[in-house]
């Protein structure tokens, strides 16, 4: 068993052919965790004893011929997914002792499919951040360069998958929190369509933007997981009744003559030259696959970040109002700086006399941004853009200037505002640091995104590269 090159698809095969047991798999991951986590700090909670026990149970079931799609597969969960009986903190001291009494729908579905929980991953507290530095339990480091950030807010999930401390990990994406860390850590990050995956039991950040996804080493693994997590949930009324596709099965279908748009507004000032050239090179690879590439325009792009930084803090302030320290949690005195900043901003923009000028205005411009995408998807099937305007940046570089940090999300927030799906996949390296590329599509086009991403991934093989 070679953990370095293992994917969920390969691990399933290995378990089926009895090349290794689930116990060996779980032990292998804890061996890596013990070697690397003290320096990278990707986990807040580890569940070694329970995971080993679950692995033995899984091996027994496998030997009895029980078939479940992910039986004995170990995964990590971002610490804002409620896990029954396992401490869940959202990386905030407000919840440092919180033990959920139920599972999030996604956790429940993955457990029923046979997944074993290795532990809970670190993140920017409440998912507020683009660097992983805003955790109340210490920052996470980028496995490719420990002086750099891994991106955020799903910082621990990206680091854990990239450094082979987990086979895959869950994430949440409100403005780029899955895609940006995936791009900083050379892994695949999926933000599904709004309402494709249930938000029930996941600690809410901004309810009209939150999307539930995952970080994996390969596109096939991402497709496999979405097939399990997607679907309507009676506990989340925003989940869609539209049928869940067989994403993995369709992944190899040709992408010839598919039309990709390259929105010119995503390649302007502010985009680092070396990131830009990687994306341009990736577009050439797509052309080799028979994909048609053309320039398009999304004219309201420049307003997206402003819309996002009104709507998101407003919804944050309202979602975090429930933390009164009475039913659970330690109360409002435990909130740290970034949560306070966002609660204050939201409280201001929602206050009497300002609501129309800020929140209503932002919701109107949100309509324009959504219409941009509606129009462009009449011309092209999907879009390709950078994920982040910069390479992974230095730890501490942006913490003193919140606005500078917020600008990290400039290419990712649009998908959340429009509710469309996006996938971030490895597009190469500059100075040994990963660069990611984003593929966006219309609502419920995950199937197409996986196909495009898969063909590019197979052509380049970038997923095989790992941190030294």
């Amino acid at each position: 068993m070679n953990i370095d090159q293992l994917t969920i698809v390969k691990a399933k095969e290995g378990l089926k052919k009895k090349e290794f047991s689930s116990l060996e798999l779980v032990e292998g991951y804890f061996k890596n965790i013990k070697k690397k986590n003290s320096q990278l700090n990707a986990f807040i909670t580890l569940c070694e004893k329970e995971a080993l026990l679950e692995a033995k149970k899984a091996d027994k079931l496998i030997s009895e011929g029980v078939k479940k799609s992910l039986l004995g597969i170990p995964m990590a969960f971002k610490d804002n997914f409620l896990t029954r009986g396992i401490k869940t903190t959202a990386a905030s001291k407000v919840l440092q002792n919180y033990i959920p009494v139920y599972d999030a729908t996604v956790v429940d579905k993955l457990k029923k499919a046979g997944v074993i929980i290795l532990g809970k991953t670190n993140m920017d507290a409440w998912a507020h951040g683009s660097s992983g530095e805003a955790s109340d339990f210490g920052l996470t480091r980028n496995p490719y360069d420990r002086n750099k950030v891994p991106g955020g807010s799903s910082s621990g999930s990206a680091t854990a998958v990239a450094s082979r401390m987990a086979l895959a990990a869950t994430g949440t994406d409100t403005g780029g929190s899955i895609r940006q860390p995936a791009s900083f850590c050379n892994v695949v990050g999926l933000k599904p369509t709004y309402g494709r995956v249930s938000r029930y039991g996941i600690i809410a950040m901004a309810s009209s933007l939150d999307a539930i996804g995952h970080l994996t080493k390969t596109v096939a693994d991402s497709a496999l997981l979405l097939g399990i997590t997607a679907g309507q949930d009676k506990f989340d009324a925003t989940t869609s009744p539209s049928p869940v596709g067989d994403y993995l099965k369709n992944i190899k279908k040709s992408v010839k003559n598919i039309k990709i748009g390259v929105p010119k507004e995503y390649f302007r000032e502010g985009l680092e030259q070396n990131v830009k050239s990687k994306i341009k090179a990736a577009l050439k690879e797509f052309e080799k696959l028979g994909v048609k590439v053309e320039e398009v325009s999304l004219p309201h792009t420049e307003y997206a970040l402003a819309v996002y930084y009104i709507i998101q803090p407003a919804e944050v302030s309202s979602n975090l109002a429930r933390y009164d320290g009475i039913r659970y949690g330690l109360g409002r005195k435990m909130f740290a700086g970034e949560a306070k900043r966002r609660i204050m901003l939201g409280t201001f923009t929602l206050s009497s006399g300002y609501w129309e000028a800020y929140y209503l205005k932002a919701m109107q411009v949100r309509t324009l941004i959504k219409q941009d995408f509606d129009k462009v998807f009449k011309k092209v099937d999907a879009l390709i853009t950078p994920v982040s305007p910069t390479l992974p940046f230095k730890i501490g570089e942006k913490t003193a200037d919140p606005l500078k940090m917020y600008l990290s999300d400039i290419y990712t927030v649009t998908a959340n505002l429009a509710g469309i799906p996006g996938i971030s996949i490895p597009a190469g390296f500059v100075n040994n640091l990963p660069v990611g590329m984003q593929i966006l599509g219309p609502h419920f086009s995950e199937d197409l995104l996986f196909r495009l991403a898969y063909h590019y991934e197979q052509q380049t093989g970038l997923y095989k590269k790992k941190p030294v």
Partner: protein, 99 residues
């Protein structure tokens, strides 16, 4: 208050509304930081949106209901398991109304 110039006084008032206690450092940093963010988001004022409908949700689902039927739920012990203070099957809170 003019939005892009949030003063320390405004910040104190907002923190009271939000139930937050700010540190001294936050009290001195927040007026400038939040004002800068507000100035940035005010770029939206360049757009005329008089005739534009607001978007609050994006996938167009409407009137999602489920059957009004009781089902399995958490026990009182489970619900109270994370409470700091409880008394039998009640959460204990500070008095809101004084006699």
């Amino acid at each position: 208050m003019k939005s892009s110039k949030l003063t320390e006084k405004n910040i104190k008032h907002l923190s009271k509304l939000a139930g937050l206690k700010l540190t001294k450092a936050e009290l001195s940093k927040f007026p400038k930081q939040l004002s800068e963010i507000l100035t940035y988001v005010e770029s939206l004022n360049k757009l005329d949106t008089k005739k534009i409908e607001p978007t609050a949700q994006v996938t167009g689902l409407e009137n999602i209901t489920r059957e009004d039927k009781s089902g399995k739920s958490l026990t009182a012990d489970e619900v109270l398991s994370n409470a700091k203070k409880k008394d039998k099957n009640f959460f204990v809170t500070k008095a809101i109304l004084e006699k």
